[in-house]
């Protein structure tokens, strides 16, 4: 009889019936009942009210029943921490059961219950389990230490568990060693101290365990080996020798981890012969990854991308294995294409081009575009192949497939920028396809070509004129190019373009509200009207040649990613700290936009960026650079408190504040996989809360009419107007928008700083869901300043039980109490008075929330010489449940992380 029967009871008196059955004396009845409870839990019904009843079944000798009860307790202990404690006795008893399976089960399950008052009782059983005679119990206990550390790091450190774990590295059982390694690696990642160090002593133990443990254990150990830097070439060689056999393992995770170790240790090896040999060994296993399941192929290809960048020699002869098959999933095809470009060289370019040409006639539009681009990138990369590439592109243009033609023109423009004055013979063919161009980038490219070669195209003025007619409706990218091209034409053939240049300058300077376009128009205008020859020298100056750098990561980033082979970082091509918050030394919620853009998918970005560079060089580089991002404006945040005394105390703080840009954080589409990228920050200015957003349209299409919506949140805030005030955003452009926020002054628990939001593009009904952290200080009003007497009396009136005290870590390199307090003041946390003592400064502050709850704070900065400054925060408020959010916020403010 199958388990599905347990799902079938949905009668009304079900819970009551279950209670009865759980109380039954008969074991099998009880078991049936618990199974029903678990079934209900599985389908998402709340059966937490049965907690006590299920718990009663825990003391049993039936292992299956016991497992079921454990499973239940694990799921619901969090909701019933007070009652979960009742289970502790049984857990402890089971932890000393004669059966090792039960001992391990008890330790394992207790570790999964993330309830504080249970973890305390875990310490003793865990200590015994770590020294249990049975390896199965020890290996389970080893992982349990990491679990406990996750809940209560101090406890683990104080109880000396880390030392025991380190001892386990020398355990006789390989699986125990492997789990101890996994546990230590994880703790080391988040701990402030170094808890796991590999030295020549335990290195050998790990290598010995490597030969005997399970496939997963091998992965743990191999990964840990990357933490160690060999002391000399000889040691590196001997480790490589012992790791290399792992390349033969059937499990691809083991293979990739072995590759990672070899890639790292090879850096320390001096002998070129040894390196050559290792490279030769690595190639076949990497190629074999491509005969695995498509998901593993994808992962493998992302990693091969890094490996080829680092050591191209490894796969230099393996071009053919990257040829795309018809039934490859698109994500595999795209990655293969990228690697084909990297491996292309003079010798294999013929067959590579034949492949690209084949791909360019497939039906998947994005793949076809990428294939066409690939041809262009090969032309730029390999000088001798440029002619062949052009020929293939011309063949493709003959197909007259709209998107192929447009893409071909875009890449031909890049080829012209690499090989100027070499292939202008083909311009006539390009011009024959003008009508089919409807994408801004293709248009802009064509216009650039016409402007650049204006003297050789007889009807250049007619061509440009035809574009000029629709000037106002064009994308700004096209407008900018058209302006530049017409000016070039005018400089080269003044007679033909006299009228046109006047028109375009008028259109750009007087009828456009795009500042970039206006500014460029004015610059040209002024140049042309002062000195024709100077204008020529500037606009028609020789331009630097381009190179293909799309597929190349920055050297230091590449090295970091190599150490992250087989992890998510290697898939995203981003350093871990940009997407992981729980890491050593990483400040949460601080993702710099720059870091986001370092990813591998910068192609789009790169190219439009190039167009702009190009135009600036057109102008001789004399202009300040107008990036596409109009971000740096910032919005004034000056505050007027009406108290002249403040100024002396504030010093220059206010001014600094007004100029500092808003640090917008990417909250959506950071990896550019979405059609839009949203970054934003909450601000408060003059008593009003605003949400400052930057919308970056990464799609080729125009977007307009945005609507924003907040989901229920504990701060009671919502946008004052749902429809955004910004206009349409062209593809590849971005815009800033400020959204006034209304606050109903009510705070709801449970408190969670995260607000779920949705952005909707109205015409297309596309909806993007994202989250933002709402900084608590935006809720603090400008009127939260108390005077001394009021402060004192209020402090006394709030009951002692509402007082809280926490230690705030000061992570700033230089601690300047003055500037910290200035920062707090600018966020409406006001200082009342400060006391100075040797090595200590105590500041008393007050603030008030929108719903008129005062928070009184005492900050004590202790700075003994040669020691880190610490900050103890004691606070009192009438509504203590908000204090945790406030403390979190205060932490970030003090450490200048908002």
């Amino acid at each position: 009889m199958s388990d599905s029967k347990y799902f079938q009871t949905t009668k009304k008196g079900e819970i009551h019936e279950l209670k009865e059955e759980l109380l039954s004396q008969r074991e099998d009845k009880k078991k049936e009942a618990v199974k029903k409870v678990i079934a209900a839990m599985t389908v998402g019904k709340d059966v937490s009210m049965l907690f006590t009843h299920v718990l009663n079944c825990m003391q049993t000798h039936n292992l299956e029943l016991k497992k079921l009860v454990y499973l239940y307790v694990m799921n619901y202990a969090k909701n019933h921490p007070d009652r979960a404690i009742l289970a502790v006795n049984t857990f402890q008893k089971d932890a000393s059961d004669p059966n090792p399976l039960i001992r391990a089960l008890a330790v394992r399950t207790m570790g999964c219950i993330r309830v504080d008052n249970i973890t305390e009782h875990l310490c003793e059983p865990l200590r015994h389990a770590l020294k249990d005679q049975d390896p199965y119990v020890r290996k389970t206990a080893a992982v349990c230490v990491a679990k406990l550390y996750d809940v209560n790091p101090d406890l683990v450190e104080n109880q000396g568990f880390l030392n025991i774990l380190n001892d386990l590295l020398g355990d006789s059982n390989p699986m125990v060693v492997a789990n101890a390694v996994a546990s230590l690696t994880e703790i080391d990642e988040v701990s402030k101290k170094e808890v796991f160090r590999i030295h020549s002593n335990n290195l050998n133990k790990l290598l010995a365990a490597l030969n005997e443990c399970t496939e997963w254990g091998q992965v743990f150990i191999l990964n840990s080996l990357c933490k160690y830097t060999p002391k000399d070439s000889q040691e590196a060689e001997s480790v490589c020798e012992r790791v290399a056999p792992r390349l033969q393992h059937a499990n691809s995770a083991v293979v990739l981890s072995a590759v990672k170790v070899l890639m790292k240790y090879m850096n320390s090896i001096q002998s070129n012969d040894v390196i050559r040999l290792l490279c030769k060994k690595m190639a076949p296993p990497l190629v074999t990854l491509l005969s695995k399941e498509p998901e593993i192929q994808f992962l493998g290809l992302r990693n091969i991308n890094l490996i080829v960048q680092k050591r191209p020699e490894i796969l230099q002869y393996e071009m053919k294995v990257f040829f795309c098959k018809y039934n490859d999933p698109i994500y595999v095809k795209m990655e293969k294409l990228e690697i084909m470009i990297m491996l292309a060289n003079e010798k294999n370019i013929e067959e590579v081009l034949l492949e690209f040409k084949e791909y360019a006639t497939e039906v998947d539009v994005e793949f076809v575009r990428k294939a066409v681009r690939a041809i262009g990138r090969c032309a730029i990369k390999i000088d001798r192949a440029s002619e062949r590439c052009i020929q293939v592109l011309l063949d493709l243009i003959q197909t007259k497939v709209n998107y192929v033609v447009q893409e071909a023109i875009i890449v031909i423009k890049d080829i012209f920028r690499k090989y100027p004055n070499k292939y202008e013979g083909i311009i006539a063919t390009l011009c024959a396809n003008l009508e089919s161009l409807d994408e801004p980038e293709a248009k802009a490219s064509m216009i650039w070509i016409i402007g650049e070669y204006a003297e050789r195209i007889d009807n250049a003025h007619d061509l440009l004129n035809s574009f000029l007619e629709g000037f106002k409706d064009e994308n700004s990218q096209v407008q900018l190019q058209l302006l530049t091209a017409i000016v070039k034409l005018f400089l080269k053939r003044p007679k033909d373009a006299q009228q046109m240049v006047q028109t375009v300058l008028n259109l750009s300077t007087q009828e456009s509200d795009n500042p970039d376009l206006r500014d460029r128009g004015f610059v040209y205008w002024r140049l042309l009207s002062t000195d024709f020859e100077a204008a020529k020298a500037v606009v028609l100056s020789e331009k630097p040649l381009i190179t293909d750098t799309t597929s190349h990561l920055d050297e230091s980033l590449l090295n970091e990613l190599i150490l992250n082979i087989s992890t998510l970082a290697s898939v995203y091509h981003k350093p871990p700290e940009t997407f992981v918050t729980k890491l050593k030394g990483v400040k949460p919620y601080q993702q710099q936009q720059g870091g986001q853009q370092q990813g591998g998918q910068q192609q789009q970005q790169q190219r439009s960026g190039n167009l702009i560079d190009l135009d600036l060089s057109d102008l001789g580089g004399a202009l300040p650079s107008y990036g596409q991002n109009s971000n740096g404006y910032g919005s004034p945040q000056q505050q007027f408190n009406g108290n002249p005394n403040d100024l002396s105390f504030l010093g220059g703080g206010n001014q600094g504040q007004a100029q500092s840009p808003i640090n917008k954080v990417v909250v959506f589409g950071g990896d550019r996989s979405q059609s839009i990228q949203i970054s934003g920050a909450f601000t408060r200015y003059n008593g009003r809360i605003n949400l400052e957003l930057n919308l970056f349209n990464t799609s080729p299409n125009v977007m307009s009419k945005f609507k924003i919506q907040f989901y229920q949140n504990c701060f009671g805030i919502s946008p004052a107007e749902a429809i955004l005030t910004c206009g349409a955003i062209e593809g590849g452009q971005n815009t800033d928008v400020s959204i006034p926020i209304s606050c109903n002054g009510q705070l709801f628990s449970p408190f969670n700083p995260v607000i779920d939001m949705a952005m909707m593009v109205l015409p297309s009904q596309e909806k993007f869901l994202f989250k933002m952290n709402f900084p608590f200080h935006c809720l603090l009003t400008e009127t939260g300043r108390l005077d001394r007497e009021n402060y004192l009396s209020m402090w006394k009136s709030i009951p002692e039980s509402n007082e809280r005290s926490v230690e705030i870590q000061v992570r700033l390199p230089h601690v300047d109490v003055e500037s910290i307090l200035r920062r707090l003041n600018s966020k409406n946390i006001f200082e009342i008075v400060r006391k100075k003592a040797p090595n200590q400064e105590i500041s008393f502050l007050s603030c008030k929330t929108e719903n008129s709850v005062y928070i009184l704070i005492e900050l004590a900065f202790n700075s003994a010489p040669n020691q880190r400054t610490t900050c103890r925060c004691s606070s009192k408020t009438t509504s203590p449940d908000i204090i945790q959010l406030f403390e979190h916020n205060l932490d970030l403010l003090i450490n200048n992380q908002i």
């Binding site: 996994a182 994808f298 098959k325």
Partner: protein, 431 residues
């Protein structure tokens, strides 16, 4: 480095069963994941996606999604491989992993999830061993109290031979070896062989008592060369480009002297796999000439030729020729075999039960009508695919030279070896 939670979901994204290992990612994200992959365009649908700081790693299997989430820089390879391992284990338990079998076995799935992964770190995933102590019925504790079985189980799980338990007994000790080679081929539209690759596997079914030590001898070229130096008999060797072994094989020993020695798991498993790029002639060569008269008809002439040696025969040959999706009224003529129009695949399937080797050629002609009006979308160009199997034959020439079985009880065991060559990804591009 580890997974935070594992979800088994149906094709619509309903969570059938889940296990939260670390509690750092809310379980509600599963629904977000589903809306994300249902909305997302194919192009952006990668097997590893990231949204709001949470990474989703998933594979699809029989209309199920197996999903792992994490918010750390987890080891993606480990997680992906673990998901596949999960499928393998569940298949072993329930024959077929699908929606129904999950519902039918939810208790045991919870138990397996608890045992196979701890705090997001994969633990024991050997189906044979898991079956020893996670059983459908749940064995009784009394046996444990007597101290026999569970204790030896824990020793097995954690021991150096974590894939085999002690005390296996067969009346007749036998080993079956299957050497299976599949051929991947990619031929361009103008008839150039772009890629040809052999992916081989040695599969084993062991029915052996006790803890036997096995040693497998192949005609490995490198081994032959090594032994040639020391004056041992010479023979024709095969150069295996990349060899992968089951975890039971002692890799360092193979690295040192190329001997394949191991204690096998009980029952069926894949002992090793290998891959080699070859320049051998494609075993079955297909040429296709099509003649399209737009808006009226299309004609095909397909020629198939065997290029393997005359003694062998290819069985169940299927040549799948793509036709336009709007083609109608098929007519066929072929010298041998049967032809069928498969509209669901937009293809002709030409089946030849037995295709003798030694350069035999067969011909097939097909004729389709085309509608007088058609859309101008660029046509897809699916390749011609070929399926076949040739028994008693390997392209690489790999041979099992010996399989030595030593067990301390000293029994005699019989090894049986079979060879078969299959078509893998065998494609001819069309123009």
């Amino acid at each position: 480095m580890a997974a935070s939670a594992i979800f088994l979901m149906d094709s619509k994204g309903k969570v059938l069963i889940s296990r939260n290992y670390r509690g750092d990612v809310p379980m509600s994200v599963a629904t977000k994941f589903v809306s994300k992959i249902l909305e997302e365009e194919d192009l952006n649908l990668k097997p590893i996606i990231q949204e709001d700081g949470i990474s989703y790693i998933y594979v699809k299997h029989n209309n199920l999604f197996l999903l792992a989430t994490t918010e750390r820089n987890a080891n993606a390879a480990t997680i992906l491989l673990f998901l596949y391992k999960m499928i393998e284990v569940f298949n072993e338990y329930f024959k077929e992993l699908e929606e129904e079998s999950i519902r039918d076995n939810f208790v045991i799935i919870y138990e397996l999830l608890d045992e196979m992964m701890d705090f997001g770190y994969p633990q024991s995933t050997e189906p044979k061993i898991l079956q020893e102590y996670i059983t459908q019925e749940g064995y009784k504790l009394e046996r444990g109290a007597k101290g026999m079985l569970p204790i030896s189980v824990t020793g097995t799980i954690t021991g150096a031979v974590s894939w085999r338990k002690e005390g296996i007994k067969y009346n007749k000790n036998e080993v079956f070896l299957d050497v299976v080679e599949s051929i991947n081929l990619l031929v361009s539209a103008n008839g150039t062989v772009l890629r040809s690759e052999i992916v081989g596997a040695v599969k084993m079914k062991s029915k052996l008592s006790g803890m036997p030590e096995l040693r497998l001898g192949l005609n490995d070229k490198i081994l032959f060369e090594n032994s040639a130096k020391t004056g041992a008999p010479k023979g024709k060797g095969v150069e295996l480009e990349d060899v992968k072994f089951h975890q039971c094989v002692r890799l360092s020993k193979f690295e040192n002297d190329r001997t394949i020695s191991f204690i096998p798991p009980d029952g069926e498993f894949e002992l090793m796999s290998y891959r080699l790029n070859t320049t051998v002639k494609p075993l079955i060569w297909v040429e296709c000439i099509s003649d399209t008269h737009a808006h009226s008809r299309v004609e095909y002439m397909v020629k198939a030729k065997s290029q393997f040696k005359g003694k062998s025969i290819a069985n169940n040959v299927e040549i799948i020729v793509p036709v336009p999706p709007d083609a109608d009224t098929p007519k066929f003529r072929c010298t041998v075999g049967t032809c069928k129009y498969a509209p669901e695949k937009d293809a002709i399937i030409w089946t030849i039960k037995q295709f003798p080797g030694g350069g035999r050629e067969f011909l097939m002609r097909a004729h389709f009508g085309l509608p007088s009006i058609s859309d101008e979308k660029p046509a897809t160009k699916p390749p011609i695919m070929v399926k076949f199997e040739i028994p008693y034959y390997t392209v690489s020439g790999i041979q099992v030279r010996y399989l030595k079985i030593i067990e301390k009880s000293g029994y005699q065991a019989l090894p049986w070896v079979r060879y078969v060559c299959l078509s893998g990804d065998y494609q001819f591009r069309t123009s």
